[in-house]
Amino acid sequence: MRISPDEWVFWTFGSYELSATIIFTWLIMFLLAVMSFAITRRLSDEGEISPMQNFLEVLVTGLSDQIRDVSRQDPSRYLPFVGTLFIFIAVSNLLSIIPGYVAPTGSLSTTTALALSVFIAVPIFGIASRGLFGYLKQYVQPTPFMLPFTVISEFSRTVALAIRLYGNAMSGAMIVGILISITPFFFPVVMQLLGLLTGLIQAYIFAVLAIVYIASAAQEENSKKRNDEHSEKEI
């Protein structure tokens, strides 16, 4: 039984191994791209719209509203990044209902890659919004003595992001594997359903934390404190 997709190697080229993590990630990317293209190829902007277009509009509108509620900023600039985080993680976790599929998010490499993406995106959005000096100034506020702690916070929350998602995704697969060996008929199904819910929640948590971090770095000084309190309260 494979708990991590990294252990499932399809092809080896020298020291590099093409694992199921990459394969299933490509599969997810392919599915999302093809389905999006197929649906958005014939969009209707008046009259009746197709159910799938309606679903995508609900999805995009929901993501935009969520980003706006959390960041109190225009969601259009954050939507591609945060929305893709949510959709990728959610689809990756939801597809685990398919036999033989192993979620890429169960790989610590994948969650680390996503956490590093957030880690990199935070200063990029912050500098783009406030300028380099304005972004760096927040590390020495309210006092320069806070600088080490702020830097540690940046790294630790990135690690926490990666470990949280990896732990939840991996533990779901592990629990199912253990239960199958003990009670092979009823409980694995229940745990699989619970895993679907957990996977969706993890996708939401990861995306919301990402937008909280990004918005915190990008927003203006006068509303920073208020929004920090608001965001932490929501989380």
Partner: protein, 262 residues
């Protein structure tokens, strides 16, 4: 639990590619479609608002026009009512005048008819009476009747008024003046002497007296002095009969006028 950094790098690249793909095939088209639809809805709302405003303006305009039309109608009705009242008043006045004219014409006609009738009655009565009287007097006329007439004439002479008496006395004083006695029948000698004697007595002198017969008098005698005259005849009684007949018709006239008015 280990991290393969090559896989991490590959997943970062994969994630960035996925961002690009979804941005191209999902977020962009969906956002544009929703924006276009929102814009269209906004335009339709603006059109609807503009149409509603135009409808409201049109409604106010029509309301104003309807008020004007109603006012004009009221004015026309009022003018027509006044004109009708005036016309009715004029027609009533005209009708009253016509009726009054007709009534007056009818009354005039009636008055003419009455007068014609009275004249006719008087003429017939007089004619018949005269015929009867003449017949009766002709049958009764004898010396006694004529003596009675002469006696009554003499009484009338003796009771004549002062003016006539004064003129009679003046005539007696003048030689050229004469008294003319006209009678409906031939006076006998005795009657003439009685009359002469009476005139001479009341005139205190000799008066020249001439006698003549006349058809104007009916069974009567008349004394003429210049423009004065004293007589006794049936003419006066016939005149009285005529007056009484006229009075009788005059008394009946108000009833006729009332009936004519009705």
């Amino acid at each position: 639990m280990e991290i393969n950094w090559v896989t991490v790098a590959a997943q970062i690249v994969n994630f960035l590619v996925l961002i690009w793909l979804l941005n191209k095939f999902l977020y962009g088209p969906i956002t544009r479609a929703m924006t276009a639809r929102q814009e269209r809805v906004r335009e339709r709302l603006a059109d609807a608002t503009r149409t509603q405003q135009e409808a409201e303006q049109e409604r106010l305009k029509l309301k104003t026009e309807r008020g004007d039309i109603h006012k004009a109608k009221e004015d026309l009705l009022s003018a027509a009512r006044d004109e009708a009242d005036q016309l009715q008043s004029d027609l009533e006045k005209q009708a009253r005048e016509d009726v009054e004219l007709q009534r007056q014409a009818w009354l005039n006609q009636l008055q003419g008819d009455k007068e014609d009738f009275l004249n006719d009655v008087r003429r017939r009565a007089a004619t018949e009476f005269f015929a009867l009287a003449e017949k009766a007097f002709a049958e009764l006329a004898d010396e006694a009747f004529e003596k009675r007439i002469v006696a009554l004439f003499i009484v009338r002479l003796k009771t004549m008024d002062a003016n006539s008496l004064s003129k009679l006395k003046d005539a007696a004083g003048r030689k050229e003046s004469s008294v003319r006695i006209e009678s409906a029948f031939e006076l006998g000698l005795n009657e003439r002497q009685a009359i002469n004697q009476c005139i001479n007595e009341i005139s205190d002198g000799e008066v020249k007296i001439t006698y003549a017969n006349t058809d104007e008098l009916i069974a009567g005698i008349r004394l003429r002095i210049d423009s004065q005259s004293v007589e006794w005849s049936l003419n006066s009684y016939l005149d009285q009969l005529q007056e009484r007949l006229e009075e009788s018709f005059a008394g009946a006239q108000p009833d006729e006028e009332r009936q004519a008015a009705e």
